[in-house]
C-alpha cells in the first residue's frame, strides 16, 4: 500500500453527445493501479467500465469527451496531444480487447502487426522486429512461431488471435496492460488457457494488469484488488478476498448472489418419454461446385441418442462447434437428419413440413440472440401472437389479445407495453418476450438454445428463475443448450456433454458435476467452476 501508484485516476467523467442528449457514461471515478498489481474493474454492460479505460487511452468515440484527471507516472493523460499520447500507448500502456476476431487487421500478416509497435516506438528494423516477434509468439504459446509469423488473422482461431494480441501487447515490455474482457468471446477451456497465460506472463514480466470483466469468477481467481462499477460510478472497492467475503454495498452483494443457484429435481421415474432421438445424425456437405474438388463432409451430429421425459430438463453442454445447437434443431426436425425422432411415441423422422405443422405448436424453440430473433418492425404484441394466428386461426382477435396479456404477465412483463417495438426493451426483457412467444402456444417441449448467454449475470439469474417457474407451472420438458455450466447446473436434472458431434459423457447433473469421468468434461468443469486462484494453476491447461 505504500508503493506509488503508476496510474492515478481522479474524478474522471466521460460524456457522449447523442441524439437523445448527453449520456454521462462515467461519473467521477477514482482509481489507482500500483506497479505489478492486478486490478479488476467489474460491472455489467453499460456500467462505464470500458469507457473509463478508453478515455485514458484516448480512444473514445468521436462524440465522447473526458473530464477530470488520469495520470500515468505523473503525466496527465486526459487532453494530452495525440503525439505525446503515442509515446505512452503501445509502449508503456498496452491493451487487449474483447473481440479477438476483429481486433487484428484482416489484410496484414500477424507478424507485421505485432512488429508495428516495435518499429514505431523502438525504431527497430523490420528484420530485427521479426526476430522479436517470433520470440513473442513463442512466449504466448503459438505453435511453430517461425511459420505462423506469416499467417493472416483469419487463418488463426479465436484463442490464437487473442494470443497474438497478447504478444503485441507485450512487445515493448509495457508497464501496464489493460485487458478489456479478453476472454468473453472465447470458449470456456480457451478462456482458462488465456487467463493462465496472462497470469504466468505477469509473474515473469511483472507488469500491472487492469482487468475489465463482468465475470466474477475470473475476478476472484485473478485480481488483487477490485473496483465494482455501476451506472458510471465506483460503488465499492477493496482487496479481492475482503470484497468477496464481506461485501458492503448492496449492489456488490447482488452481483455476488447473481450466480444462479438451486437444483432441479429429476422427474418421477414413470414420467413418459416425450421426445426421443435415436442415432440422430446430421451431415453438412461442404462446397461441391463445378470446379471445386470432392465434397468435404462435416459430421455435425454423429449418431446421438437422447430421450427427453415429461417434466425433464436435459442440459446439453459443449464448446462452440460441438454440435449442440445442431442436435436441438435436428430433434425439432428443423434440419434434415438421419436416424429416428419420435414425439409422443409417433415416428416423425419422415414427416414433411406440412405433417410437422400441427406438431410445431408443441415443439418450441427459444434462441440465444434476443436482439436478432425479434422482428424490429413488429410490436411485441404482434410478435407474441404471431404463432397463434398460424396454429389457432379461428381465434378471435380479442381472445388473442387476452392470451397475449396473460402470457406477458406470466413472463413478468407489463402487458401495457405490448404495443411497443423490440428496440425499446433491454436484452433481458427481449428474452422474456421470446419466451412468451413460445409459451403462448402452450408447448410440451421447448428447446432453449443458449437463452441466457447474451445476458448479464444478474439478468441471467432472473431468466433462469422464470424458466424454472414456467416449467413447474406447465410441466414442460426442456432441452437446454448452453456452454455456461453454472446456468446448466441450476437448470438441468440430466446432462449430456458433447464434443465434435458426439456424446462424451452423460448422466444426472450432480454426478456429472461432482464426479466427471472424461478428461474433456473435467477440463470443462475446471475451467468454469474451479475456484482456485489462477496463479497456482498456471500451466494446468497447457
Amino acid at each position: 500500500m505504500t508503493q506509488e501508484s503508476i496510474l492515478r485516476v481522479r474524478d474522471l467523467h466521460v460524456e457522449f453527445e447523442t441524439n437523445d442528449g448527453m449520456v454521462h457514461a462515467v461519473r467521477g471515478i477514482d482509481l489507482d493501479v500500483k506497479p505489478g498489481e492486478t486490478v479488476a474493474i467489474v460491472g455489467e454492460s453499460g456500467s462505464g467500465k470500458s469507457q473509463t479505460t478508453m478515455a485514458l487511452m484516448g480512444l473514445l468515440a468521436s462524440n465522447g469527451r473526458a473530464r477530470g484527471s488520469a495520470t500515468y507516472r505523473g503525466q496527465e493523460l486526459i487532453g494530452l496531444s495525440e503525439r505525446k499520447l503515442n509515446r505512452i500507448r503501445g509502449e508503456k500502456i498496452t491493451m487487449i480487447f474483447q473481440e479477438p476476431m476483429t481486433s487484428l487487421d484482416p489484410l496484414y500478416r500477424i507478424g507485421r502487426q505485432i512488429a508495428e509497435p516495435l518499429v514505431h516506438h523502438r525504431g527497430m528494423s523490420r528484420k530485427a522486429a521479426r526476430e522479436r516477434v517470433i520470440e513473442l509468439l513463442e512466449l504466448v504459446g503459438i505453435p511453430d512461431p517461425a511459420r505462423r509469423v506469416d499467417a493472416y488473422p483469419h487463418e488463426l482461431s479465436g484463442g490464437q488471435r487473442q494470443r497474438v494480441m497478447i504478444a503485441m501487447a507485450l512487445a515493448n515490455d509495457p508497464d501496464m496492460l489493460i485487458a478489456d474482457e479478453p476472454t468473453t468471446a472465447l470458449d470456456v477451456t480457451i478462456q482458462a488457457q488465456i487467463l493462465a497465460l496472462l497470469a504466468e506472463l505477469q509473474r515473469k514480466l511483472g507488469m500491472a494488469i487492469v482487468f475489465i470483466t463482468h465475470d466474477l469468477g475470473i475476478v476472484r481467481r485473478f485480481a488483487d484488488r477490485v473496483y465494482v462499477m455501476r451506472y458510471g460510478e465506483v460503488v465499492e472497492e477493496g482487496e479481492t478476498s475482503v470484497l468477496f467475503d464481506r461485501p458492503k454495498h448492496p449492489y456488490t452483494m447482488e452481483l455476488l448472489a447473481a450466480e444462479p443457484t438451486g437444483r432441479k429435481a429429476p422427474p418421477p421415474l414413470e414420467a413418459p418419454i416425450l421426445l426421443e432421438g435415436r442415432n440422430v445424425e446430421v451431415v453438412f456437405g461442404g462446397g461441391g461446385g463445378w470446379f471445386s474438388g470432392p465434397e468435404a463432409e462435416i459430421r455435425a451430429v454423429d449418431r446421438i441418442s437422447v430421450a427427453l421425459h415429461k417434466g425433464q430438463t436435459i442440459g446439453v453442454v459443449g464448446e462452440s462447434g460441438s454440435g449442440k445447437s445442431t442436435l436441438g434443431r435436428a430433434l425439432l426436425r428443423l434440419l434434415p437428419s438421419d436416424g429416428t425422432v419420435r414425439f409422443e411415441g409417433a415416428d416423425i423422422s419422415a414427416a414433411d413440413k406440412r405433417a410437422m405443422r400441427p406438431m410445431r405448436k408443441e415443439l418450441q424453440l427459444v434462441f440465444q440472440d434476443p436482439f436478432g430473433s425479434l422482428s424490429p418492425r413488429m410490436t411485441i404484441g404482434q410478435v407474441v401472437t404471431e404463432g397463434l394466428k398460424v396454429h389457432e386461426p379461428q381465434l378471435p382477435a380479442r381472445e388473442r389479445d387476452r392470451r397475449a396479456i396473460e402470457v406477458l404477465e406470466e413472463v413478468g412483463l407489463d402487458p401495457a407495453m405490448r404495443n411497443r417495438y423490440p428496440h425499446e426493451f433491454s436484452g433481458g426483457q427481449r428474452q422474456r418476450i421470446a419466451i412468451a412467444r413460445a409459451m403462448i402456444l402452450k408447448p410440451k417441449v421447448v428447446v432453449l438454445d443458449e437463452p441466457t448467454s447474451a445476458l448479464d449475470r444478474s439478468v441471467q439469474k432472473q431468466i433462469v428463475d422464470l424458466l424454472r417457474d414456467l416449467q413447474k407451472a406447465h410441466d414442460l420438458s426442456y432441452l437446454f443448450i448452453s456452454h455456461d455450466l453454472a446456468v446448466v447446473r441450476a437448470m438441468a436434472d440430466h446432462i449430456v456433454v458433447m464434443k465434435q458431434g458426439r456424446i462424451v459423457e452423460e448422466g444426472p447433473t450432480d454426478a456429472i458435476f461432482d464426479h466427471p469421468r472424461e478428461a474433456y468434461t473435467q477440463a470443462l468443469m475446471a475451467a468454469a467452476i474451479d475456484g482456485t486462484p489462477f496463479r497456482q494453476q498456471a500451466g494446468a491447461f497447457e
Binding site: M57, G58, L59, A61, S62, E82, L85, N86, R87, I88, R89, G90, E91, T94, M95, F97, E99, T102, S103, L104, D105, P106, L107, Y108, E116, P117, H120, H121, Y152, H154, M165, M168, F291
Partner: protein
Amino acid sequence: MFAYVLRRFAGAVPTLFIIVTIAFFMIRLAPGGPFDLERPLDPLIMKNLERAYNFDKPLWQQYLIYLGNLAQGDLGPSFTRRDFSVVDLFRTGLPVSIQLGGIALSIALVVGVFLGALAALRQNTWVDYMVVGTATFGITIPTFVIAPVFSLFFGVMMGWLPAGGWGTWQHMVLPIATLALPQIAIIARLTRGATIEALRSNHVRTARAYGLPSYVVVGVHALRAAILPVVSYLGPTAAALLTGSVVVETIFGIPGIGRYFVQGALGRDYTLVMGTVVVIACFVIVFNLVVDVLYAWLDPRVRYD
C-alpha cells in the same frame, strides 16, 4: 491463382458465345434492314446487295457464317460506312475512346479517393459537407447536360478551349472533365463511406491503441480496407468508360467507338452493332477478372482455387 485466371478465360468463351447469339437474333428481330432508305432501291440492286451480304440465305446460315468469321477475328463489313470493315472502324476509334476513358478514369480514381478519404477524416466539418454536396451534385447532373454546358461556356462563350473536335490536348480537356466528374462523385462517396466504416473498426482502434502514428493508422490500416469497395466498382466502370460514351463523343464530335452502338442500331448496321457488343463484352469480362484478381491481392481472406 494462375489456374484460376485460365479457368476464368475458359469460362469467358461460353459467356461470349451466349451474348453474341442473343445479340445476333435480337438485332435481326428489329423491323427494317440496312438497305431500307427513304427512297426504295431498285429491286434488282436490292437483290444483288442481299446476295452479296448473304441476306438471301436463311437466318441460321447467316448466324453460322458470322460465328465462323468471328472466330477468325473478322467482324464483317460495315453496312452504313461502305468503305470500311468493322475491324477498321474499331482500329481507328478504339484508341481514341481508350485514351479518353483511361485518362478520365485515372483522374476520377485519384481525385475521388482523395476527396472521399479527406471527407471521412474531416467528418461533419465544412470539408465533408463540401465534398458530399458536390458529389451529390455530380451524380445528379447527367452527362448530356454537363457536356453541352461545358462546350457552350468554356468553348463558345469564354473561348478558352475548343468547343468540339479532336486532335490536340486542348480538345481532350472538356470531354475528359465531362466523363470524370460523375465518376469522381461516385468514387468519392464510396470512399468516404468505406473510410468512415474502416475508421470505426476494431482493428483501427487497435492501431490507435498501440500509438501508431496517424499516417500509419489511416494510410496503412484504414485506407486499404476502404479501397476494397472502390475496386469492386471499378470493373464495370472501367469497361464502360474505355469503350466510349455515346453522349460525350456525339456532343464533342470525337471519333471514338461510343457512337457506333447507337448509330449502328438506328441504321440497322448489323455487323457494327454486333462488333460493338463483342468489344464491350470482352472489356467487361477482362475488367471483371482484373478486379477479382486485384481484390484477392488486396484482401488475403479472398482465395480462388
